[in-house]
Amino acid sequence: MNAMAAIAGVEAASTADISERLATHGQAASAEVARYLKGGAPFLDDLLTDYPSRGGKMLRPAICMANARVFGGDERAGVGCAAAIEILHNGLLIHDDIQDGSEVRRGRPTLHRLHGVALAINAGDALMFSALRPLIDALRPLGSGVAKQVIEATMTMARETAEGQALELGWRDRNVLELTQADYFRMALKKTAWMGMIWPSQLGLIVGSQGRADPKSVMRFGYFLGIAFQIEDDVRNLCDDPGYGKERNGDLYEAKRTLMLIHARAACGGADRQRLDAFLGLSREARSRDEVAWLCDLMVEKGSIEHGRAVGAAMAGAAMHEFSLAYAGLPPSEDLSFLAGLAPWVVSRP
């Protein structure tokens, strides 16, 4: 393996190795997703398979499958859970796009732009319920004890994710201005880290260890990984090409309370603060290109983007530290190296 560093004795996978692992686990999970979403119902099944067929990093399923393997299980133990995670994730994406008024997803028009809001919501609902099937099928051979652990982890994730989404939407819709860095971390923990990193890690750990390892042990790793991932995503949204099929500066048009926006607002005063607050109080349609350009320049001038990158890197460092504690003593494997390499990867991914 072309390793780039060692974390507590575990060789962290290089970017190329991580891409390969994502592809391997992603293909296995995608095949399972396609199997479960197969059907011919009019106005429904084409919509269900649309987002999954557009590709994606497949990070969540890969985290689940890698954890299942490092905690003793084989690929079969994790692939059903990974499929459930991916199906649920795509259902949530459809609803997110509607709530955010997003126009582009993975390089193509969002589902509600293609089919209308009503059919898109219905498809999102159907995907979320469809996720239960591969999950139950995966858990059946493992017994009720393991199933109960998975249900507990899933219920917690569902609650935390809904709270996180509510925070972000509430801040925007009620034009909440006085936010701190801690508020941002709290929101990102709930909205991103729980569903994207903590829950997949926990599901993999539970099914891989057959319920004998502690799901709480991987929470801090998932949390810091998720925060680093979210900050990096937010920074990329301000770049020339966000790199994941979303429109540039979409977060500014949506007035998303990112770490950079919170930083910029705290760093400026007087006329700049007034202008920024006025911008945030506008509707999405009323936010002009010129004002977005001004805000982007303000963030550069105040060092907010540089700060975001630095905090993202620091969170990745904290994730590496937590990895060294949570996965200490596990036998070396490609999946363990994959997990070790994720923290540096999230802030340097292609």
């Binding site: 003793g72 299980g73 059946r140 017994g143 009720s144 199933a147 109960k148 249900i151 006085e178 936010l179 701190t180 860095q181 801690a182 508020d183 971390f185 709290r186 923990l189 709930k190 004998r212 390892a213 502690d214 709480k216 042990s217 929470m219 949390y223 810091f224 920074v235 301000l238 020339d240 090409d241 790199g243 500066n249 919170i262 930083h263 705290a266 760093a267 400026c268 007087g270 700049d272 977005v292 350009a293 982007c296 060092g303 983007i305 540089e306 700060h307 630095a310 905090v311 620091a314 969170m315 460092g317 904290a318 504690l325 996965y327 200490a328 003593g329 596990l330 540096p344 802030v347 340097s348």
Partner: protein, 261 residues
């Protein structure tokens, strides 16, 4: 690490090839000038307006961010634990809800809990049934044991229970108590030296992990003794780690202890 171009809204349209580039770093080493800071706002308080605040090292901002990150996580865990406690005791925070509605909701929660449990119990039984061989062929039933109770004796002499008793000792003694009393029995012959545990991590808040653990055979109980070394200034709380046997891939369980004040 790949780098990326610093964005400005006024820049021309995206060049995909240029996306993964970052500008040359402004500095190549740490800022050592006392109090040096680039536009670092105090945004933990959030409310104050300032264009030019006092200069501090940027690394202080980042260290503070990591501290806040840990605080937020600990606070979230604490809230989750309190909610779980209330839930397990049947309180559900329904003190302010009208009695009838509260009772109805409690009943619904109980029902959902039971339903979920029953569903998976049924699924488990179905899976067990599906895994069993075909029904016995028609014909006379197997002859029962000649002596009454012989079957019970056979059961007593059959496979050992699947669990292994664990006693935890502390060094120094009496600084804590064990929350784990049993682990899964290894599937293959295993010596105590082949049993390891990952460092015991504190469940809430930051603390150095307890990494000095050893296992021994306990003749009295026929199980294991785990010895945990506890440094003098170790913070109190619950610590846990995963126990592994070198002879198998799946773990034996979680070793959890509680350290007192």
């Amino acid at each position: 690490m790949t780098t990326r171009k610093t964005p400005t809204a006024a820049e021309p349209a995206a060049d995909p090839a240029a996306r993964a580039t970052r500008p040359e770093p402004i500095r190549m080493g740490p800022v050592r000038r006392a109090g040096a800071r680039r536009n670092g706002p105090d945004f933990e308080g959030g409310a104050g307006e300032r264009d030019e605040g006092p200069l501090n090292a940027i690394s202080e901002d980042i260290a503070q961010a990591v501290r806040v990150g840990y605080d937020v996580f600990s606070e979230n865990l604490k809230r989750g634990r309190e909610a779980a406690n209330a839930f397990s005791q049947g309180e559900y925070s329904l003190g302010q809800v009208p009695h009838d509605a509260g009772e109805a909701l409690k009943e619904l929660v109980r029902l959902l809990q039971q339903t979920a449990e029953s569903t998976f119990d049924i699924l488990y039984r179905l899976a067990e049934l599906a895994a069993k061989p075909k029904p016995p062929p028609p014909g006379p039933s197997p002859v029962p044991p000649f002596r009454p109770g012989a079957g019970d004796a056979a059961a007593r002499n059959g496979p050992a229970p699947h669990t292994l008793a664990v006693t935890v000792r502390f060094k120094p003694p009496a600084v804590g108590r064990a929350l784990t009393t049993s682990l899964a029995r290894p599937q293959a012959p295993t010596s105590p030296a082949e049993i390891k545990a990952s460092p015991l991590l504190k469940r809430e808040g930051a603390a150095p992990p307890l990494a000095e653990l050893s296992f021994d055979f306990d003749i009295a109980s026929g199980g294991l003794t785990a010895t945990v070394a506890v440094p003098e200034d170790q913070p109190p709380g619950i610590y846990s780690g995963t126990v592994w046997a070198a002879t198998q891939d799946t773990p034996l369980g979680v070793l959890a202890i509680e350290l007192g004040q």
